[in-house]
């Protein structure tokens, strides 16, 4: 039993080490490598095919209220198909420098091509984070110990009504200064 526990602890340690090792210096490069890998499981998995013209959307924002901005990135291959939503990947900054990916193929930020309606201080949680809306709920995403957590707010209402949350759902979306690349441009950029 002791041997087993030791091995388990060692395995956990290796896993954590692996997670720590996934720090990247250039999130855009990491994202580019991820979506162009043959093993990549994209969300837009129907008739869509990647091409040099496929757009990639990129912006930076203060996800945790610190000056170290997180990187939000998505592309047409991660278009969710309805209501104009994309699965946004998020690379959060780490204290030692660089970034690590805090989203995956199941847990991601859903938002339109222009980004989420709100990134900033969330009064209900007393935390900084991202607001994501569905038909019936408002969900907050926030970082805790380097892990992306979620929590629903507005649980008292049966249906989501934007009008009760003008702070999170302004009539005009924030301008995140999104940069649009194409896969062809990124291929050139990272070929050097």
């Amino acid at each position: 039993m002791k041997t087993l526990l030791t091995l388990t602890a060692l395995w956990l340690g290796l896993s954590l080490w692996t997670a720590q090792a996934q720090v990247v210096q250039d999130p855009l490069l990491a994202y580019y490598k991820m979506i162009t890998a043959p093993s990549f499981d994209r969300q837009n998995d129907g008739d869509f095919q990647y091409s040099p013209q496929t757009p990639v959307y990129y912006f930076e924002a203060e996800l945790d209220g610190s000056e170290h901005k997180a990187v939000f990135v998505t592309d047409k291959g991660n278009y969710l198909g309805e209501r104009g939503q994309y699965a946004w990947s998020v690379y959060a900054p780490v204290k030692s420098g660089g970034y690590h990916l805090v989203t995956d193929s199941i847990s991601y930020i859903t938002a339109g091509r222009l980004g989420p309606s709100y990134i900033g201080y969330i009064d209900q949680l007393k935390k900084y984070g991202v607001i994501v809306s569905g038909r019936d709920a408002i969900t907050a995403y926030y970082l805790q110990d380097g892990v992306l957590k979620t929590q629903s707010i507005d649980e008292d209402r049966e249906h989501l009504e934007f009008k009760y949350y003008p702070k999170y759902f302004p009539t005009k979306l924030p301008d995140y200064h999104i940069t649009t690349y194409t896969l062809g441009q990124l291929a050139q950029k990272y070929a050097k």
């Binding site: 129907g46 198909g81 309805e82 209501r83 193929s105 859903t110 938002a111 339109g112 019936d136």
Partner: protein
């Protein structure tokens, strides 16, 4: 101001009045008050009640034109008739007829415009299609602003009758009216303008139903048009849509009604029926063969649950509001749910989007204003979702050639008692967003993730509200 008023042989109210305007000398003048009315002619059907009005088209309905701006008066609405589930009783545009009892020997000039200001933005304006804050491609602008609409499908939500270009110059309508080159319809006094028979009205309606804020304008001239007797006057009303038959919210027949009847007549009875009968060819690029899309009605219920103050099946917002709060002046507007800030939302019974990766709508207007058209669009969309699920499965298989396991025997339970097979759950989930089923490259097993990252459990909602009838 008026004295000794009476009705003359032409039906006009005549009298005298002291005039203080600028076009004529100040002082006492003879005047005629010419009766003018706009009527939605009788077109009996079974429709839903909208705010205290039990039926709108079973008798000639005068349209209240007393508003000086776009009407917030429910009596100032010309209703698009819902029809019922039968193919013979299709939705119909209002049968509008304008009448002005001008004296003989005069010419009456008419024109009509209808603009859909939608539900977007503060006060519904600017409507998104023409929002100056968004960038439209030249092709999109052409589709939305070209009043002639060269295609067979109508996109423009800015309708003019007659067309400003006077496309029907010289070609008399059935009732003898003709369109003129400067955007007016003219004829001798005394004959009603049957707007619903106007060539431009019929052409626009054939390309797609339309509605919104309407303005009807008229003026009266001498018979040769050389002298203006009554300067242009504008009157305002709305064209809005009625939902198909209202549903009982409780009881054994909850959910039954014209809408559900029509959907199930197209897509199958509301009975689960895919389990064990889906014909699936691994690796095929075609969608599996399925008996029917039996769950279509449940999707429509979930998609429009509570909108406009009605339990479900809401192509339009009965009360003008998103849920129970009435918004005067928006009753009967197409039901739009902007439930994804930054996305495009969706319209009507199936909350359709078109070029939905943009923040604009470029959508055939018939999907907005004709509920059966919206229902018809469900089929190609769900077929594509099923094909997407098949292609996704192919991709997972090819990426994991040695560890892949076939998920199609799997099922998932949602709601209280409803069990969906793999293909049903995949198609329904994809109709909303995302895919639900994921293959773990660690455990080599499949699992269904019920909630979206946005916390929405769409499959549960379809089962709970749609199939199991929980409002």
């Amino acid at each position: 101001m008026r004295s000794r008023a009476r009705i003359n042989d032409e039906g006009a109210i005549v009298g005298t009045a002291t005039y203080s305007g600028t076009n004529y000398p100040t002082g006492s003048h003879g005047v005629m008050l010419i009766p003018f009315k706009l009527v939605n002619l009788a077109d009996p059907y079974q429709g839903s009640a909208v705010i205290g009005t039990p039926s709108h088209n079973d008798q000639d309905t005068p349209i209240d034109l007393s508003s000086t701006t776009n009407s917030t008066d429910i009596n100032g609405v010309a209703w698009i008739a819902a029809g019922d589930a039968s193919t013979s009783n299709a939705p119909r545009m209002p049968k509008l007829q304008a009448t002005l009892a001008a004296p003989n020997g005069t010419t009456v000039w008419w024109k009509l415009s209808v603009i859909n200001h939608g539900l977007h933005g503060p006060g519904g304006n600017p409507y998104r299609d023409f929002d100056t804050g968004v960038s439209l491609t030249p092709a999109q602008v052409t589709k939305l602003t070209n009043s002639a609409e060269t295609g067979t499908v109508g996109y423009s939500d800015n309708i003019a009758v007659p067309l400003p270009s006077g496309s029907y110059d010289g070609s008399a309508n059935a009732d003898g009216w003709r369109s003129t080159s400067d955007g007016w319809v003219t004829n001798a006094a005394g004959t009603p303008w049957n707007i619903y028979q106007d060539n431009d009205w019929q052409t626009n309606a054939a390309r797609g139903f339309f509605g919104g804020d309407a303005q009807i304008s008229m003026k009266v001239t001498s018979s040769d048009g050389s002298k203006v007797l009554v300067p242009q006057q504008d009157f305002y009303f709305r064209i809005a849509g009625e939902n198909p038959t209202a549903d009982p919210s409780t009881g054994a027949n909850a959910g039954a009604g014209a809408c559900q009847d029509y959907i199930t007549s197209l897509y199958g009875a509301p009975t689960p029926n895919w389990t064990g009968v889906v014909t699936y060819t691994p690796g095929s690029t075609n969608a599996p063969t399925v008996p029917s899309y039996w769950f279509a009605y449940a999707i429509a219920k979930e998609e429009t649950d509570g909108n406009g103050g009605r339990t479900w099946y809401n192509q339009f917002r009965d009360n003008g509001g998103r849920y129970n709060t009435r918004v005067p002046g928006k009753e009967g507007y197409p039901n739009w749910n902007d439930d994804s800030a930054g996305g495009s939302g969706g319209y009507g019974l199936f909350q359709l989007t078109y070029q939905s990766d943009e923040t604009n709508f470029i959508m055939p207007r018939d999907w907005l204003w004709n509920w059966k058209s919206n229902v018809g669009r469900f089929l190609p969309k769900i077929q594509q979702k099923l094909k997407d699920a098949q292609l996704s499965l192919n991709g997972t298989r090819s990426r994991n050639p040695t560890t892949f396991t076939d998920p199609t025997p799997l099922t998932t339970t949602a709601g209280s008692t409803t069990t969906f097979c793999f293909w049903e759950s995949a198609a329904i989930r994809r109709f909303n967003s995302g895919r639900g089923w994921n293959f773990s490259t660690n455990t080599f097993t499949w699992s269904y993730t019920p909630t979206m990252p946005s916390s929405t459990n769409y499959l549960y909602n379809v089962a709970h509200k749609g199939i199991e009838n929980h409002p």
